[in-house]
Symmetry: C3
Subunit: 433 residues, 3 copies
Amino acid sequence: MLSATDNGILTRTGAGTPMGDYFRRFWLPVALSRELPERDGPPVRLRVLGEDLIAFRDTEGRVGVLDPRCPHRGANLFFGRNEECGLRCAYHGWKFDVEGRCVDLPTMPPESGFRARVRAGAYPAREWGDFVWAYLGPAAQEPPLPELEFAVLPAERRFVSKKLQQCNWAQACEGALDTAHFSFLHMPVWSADDAVAAAVGRSSVDRERTRWMRDDPRPEFEVARHDVGFVAGAARKADGDDRYWRIAQFMLPNHALTPNALPGENIHGQTWVPIGDEAAWVYCYTWNPDRPLTEEERRSYRKGRTVHAEVDERWVPLRNRDNDYLIDREDQRKRTFTGIQGVSEQDAMIQDSQGFIADRTREHLGPTDAAIIEFRRQVLHGARDLAAGVEPAAARAAAAYRVRGGSLVAHRTLSFADVMTRRFGHPLGRVVG
Amino acid sequence: MLSATDNGILTRTGAGTPMGDYFRRFWLPVALSRELPERDGPPVRLRVLGEDLIAFRDTEGRVGVLDPRCPHRGANLFFGRNEECGLRCAYHGWKFDVEGRCVDLPTMPPESGFRARVRAGAYPAREWGDFVWAYLGPAAQEPPLPELEFAVLPAERRFVSKKLQQCNWAQACEGALDTAHFSFLHMPVWSADDAVAAAVGRSSVDRERTRWMRDDPRPEFEVARHDVGFVAGAARKADGDDRYWRIAQFMLPNHALTPNALPGENIHGQTWVPIGDEAAWVYCYTWNPDRPLTEEERRSYRKGRTVHAEVDERWVPLRNRDNDYLIDREDQRKRTFTGIQGVSEQDAMIQDSQGFIADRTREHLGPTDAAIIEFRRQVLHGARDLAAGVEPAAARAAAAYRVRGGSLVAHRTLSFADVMTRRFGHPLGRVVG
Amino acid sequence: MLSATDNGILTRTGAGTPMGDYFRRFWLPVALSRELPERDGPPVRLRVLGEDLIAFRDTEGRVGVLDPRCPHRGANLFFGRNEECGLRCAYHGWKFDVEGRCVDLPTMPPESGFRARVRAGAYPAREWGDFVWAYLGPAAQEPPLPELEFAVLPAERRFVSKKLQQCNWAQACEGALDTAHFSFLHMPVWSADDAVAAAVGRSSVDRERTRWMRDDPRPEFEVARHDVGFVAGAARKADGDDRYWRIAQFMLPNHALTPNALPGENIHGQTWVPIGDEAAWVYCYTWNPDRPLTEEERRSYRKGRTVHAEVDERWVPLRNRDNDYLIDREDQRKRTFTGIQGVSEQDAMIQDSQGFIADRTREHLGPTDAAIIEFRRQVLHGARDLAAGVEPAAARAAAAYRVRGGSLVAHRTLSFADVMTRRFGHPLGRVVG
């Protein structure tokens, strides 16, 4: 439970808000690189933390992220012409490069020297891990890019996508850290026979995991803090004396890795970037540290498996808030707990259902909400510190973002630290070597 | 004419408003029973007096009306699973029965005793007359159900339906009590020949009524108060020394009966339940005290005759505010006074046209507005009394809701009381015997 | 650049605002005459300066502009019946003529004398130049109709139309006075070959104009004030020692004439009438002082050439804000500077793109913005004067509205006054003789 004040701080990210200032100390994904496929191609509209922006790729392949207002009379540069290393306003031909410099100003006498003094608003932009990232904060505080493992690896070992989330960023991020919900939200119904269970979990390993999650809805949580966030393990009873550990990572301010990968399996992560306070883009990534992803894997992600949603051409999930996620009540009665297809869509449904901005003043939290509580503590702490003048150390700890999440079946006597070391080679999940 | 203050009191029914508190002292229809056709079927969303609610029918057939927010973390129980006498939240499996009691709480240790202390918000719900009714007020003041005649009778003698009204409840209710408007709104045009008149009014009785209403646009009103509202008679000149009386009933806070039934004909009524302040559900009922309704009658009501509208699958009238009620100007010129099909739709058009909330500060009322004036007086009085601590007596006078409205042709020397007694056997229209 | 206060004054025209009061001292077009094609036909809804109104044509062909609220109980007269020189409310039959007088009042006793005392709200209305004009100001200040030349001429010499503008009136009007933008917004791209140029400009005269405008993006502006606004000339280098003059007219408060007509060519003008503050109707007119327009000319205007847009049946441009004006990026790359079809649509795009209400506090104006600066000065001055009690003289100077705009190629030594006199026979563009 949060106070109304804290709930407001957690969820509001417009310019000048504490959390808005905090987000503006980190690089944020603002587009897929493939949304700007060609040099001198059409600009695209962005909306990030309540700010309207445009992005374009210039003649040399560089991406610019600009305030869309032409400084002359405010015409929108989205309708401008992308030509010869700059975007030219369609009204009177003022032209700006990827950094916002005015490179042509045909309506003013050259001798006025005005061209050198006028600039379009622009934010630093980089391509990294097949995303376009922008930094919306003060120039003096520009940090390095976070070394998330999916971005560091060769492109053939990752798959990235994007999907619309129709609610506030924070409750969606909480949903990813709340691994207790797997015992219900993503389950086949109790009465479903083996055939159904087999259909949902296709391998014997999947069937076992499903059984362990269904049979223990009250996992025990352990949380360990690190330089850029925390790692949260949740242990359920498995067979015999074993426990089934599911370990999620959170990296400040808005990245989370899923807890499902057993050793050798692909790892998944998501980054929530507020559009405004009632919607967010979720940037999704899957990677394998050791091998290229197969074409079959890519195909399944494109169709919407794991964190990737099945989306339309504007990245809106086909099953979304506006169509009740195409809930099938007959399926809910007989086969799956929600009647909604897709793990990503089940998550979106339940997160959106908390309201456009969840009211955290009326909650009743318990021990299984440990990761959520830690998430709120860290981001509220970071926003409050910054408001008091303390810059976030995490933003500069680029290498510390190279962590992994995943699963392990281990004897019940093993501590969380032992489990982490056995699974990842490091007690906090850092990538070693 | 009302002051702006009184207009606000009359029309605002949100929690904490005077009229909102007043409505919350009465049972209100909130759904048709047939919207919840099966046990353990899908929940339905409701919005009543500005509050979002859900209703579901449990394994034993009982209906629950709940606050949709799961007390754990606010996920919406609409997406929950309706199973074994309770609705289970899809997020972490908390489960609640029709009265909001928590009957399963899998994420908390049983020994914590927490389950007994947590409840979902719930309102008392009953089925009565093929409607689901809810009581949204303080438990200590819960009244009996109103004994409206349609609800008391065997089901085969009634037909019920529901339709969306796209304006504030009060002006729609006023429209039902204002029987003077029949001389225009529902008329064939003056110049229309007998063929048109015949088409509009199918029998010779209908033709006579139509002629009397057309020829006397200034009926004389008489109003008599009773324990749960008032009865309003409007007398028009008929043939010879006769007068054509049309008698409507109003029952607090939001029920009205139509004035059209001649002895032996079916009786119609409507109940307006605010969704918010700019829309309402109208619950409609037709009954015959003495015999089952015929299949042909039911078919005609389903197609939208009398108070029943022609609606889509979500109970939205096919001819509505958004499509200008499919007004046909050629028809308006040559055949009917509005060019709009359907008595219910003609009423909705003119009521909606007063604005989403009618501005009563600029009216010019006259003698034919007597019933409207009495309606406002009674409900404003009731709301003001309650604000001063006086509970509404009408809410407890359940038996006094058993009244009828209708028509009579009577000699001009007969008083209103005589007419009432001759038509209904009781001077206020109470059902006797 | 304007202060936020001045930007607010310039753009807000609701009742009681300074600019709203100023507009209410002038006759304004509120409909095309052809929107009310027949006597006793259907009324039409209007929205003017934030006020909801209706217009209807009565049995004798007169047009009335009324407040839609029936004074009885506020039902909307739009749904009324237009019959025998009056509009009859569909609720209880109260009937009003084109001046708002109550001509029938069936629900009140005739002896009450009430009919003579009740009126529907009504504004003076006139037909003039194939538009319906209304005067929304105080009766004592009602001015004569402005003698715009297109309206004074015989109907066969003019063509009028109407189109929706999806932004504030003022920035759209500025766009018409800003003739510098022709060097970009309406141009073929620099690299386009002669074939493209030929397609855009069909005649050799057109090709020359296009070349002169393309080659000189920094025309020199001259502004001369007159009794009802100002005339603005912009001179570009032409061939040899010639200059290509383009001369636009502005007439208070909201009329502008385009600068393109060479001697003998048709003249075009536009009048912006605010719907609210975020949209306007643009009333468009083309005329030839000396001859009837040809059927081919009318056909081309109907299809959307010059100031006339290609619109749907509700006067909404087919290429509009909601569909990004059907921008074709390939066309923008290879052929035209915007990739958008139609001069009117190119203008609408760039004007709308400044925002629903342009923020003039962040501009960087230069010498080519001289006409815009004068426009703001005059209308702000007029609104401020009126607020101080000085009635606008322009509203009474009806004859001074008879001016023309157009083009001339002239030797560079000729002054603006000389150019005006040579082109129009008058130094301010007044129609002489």
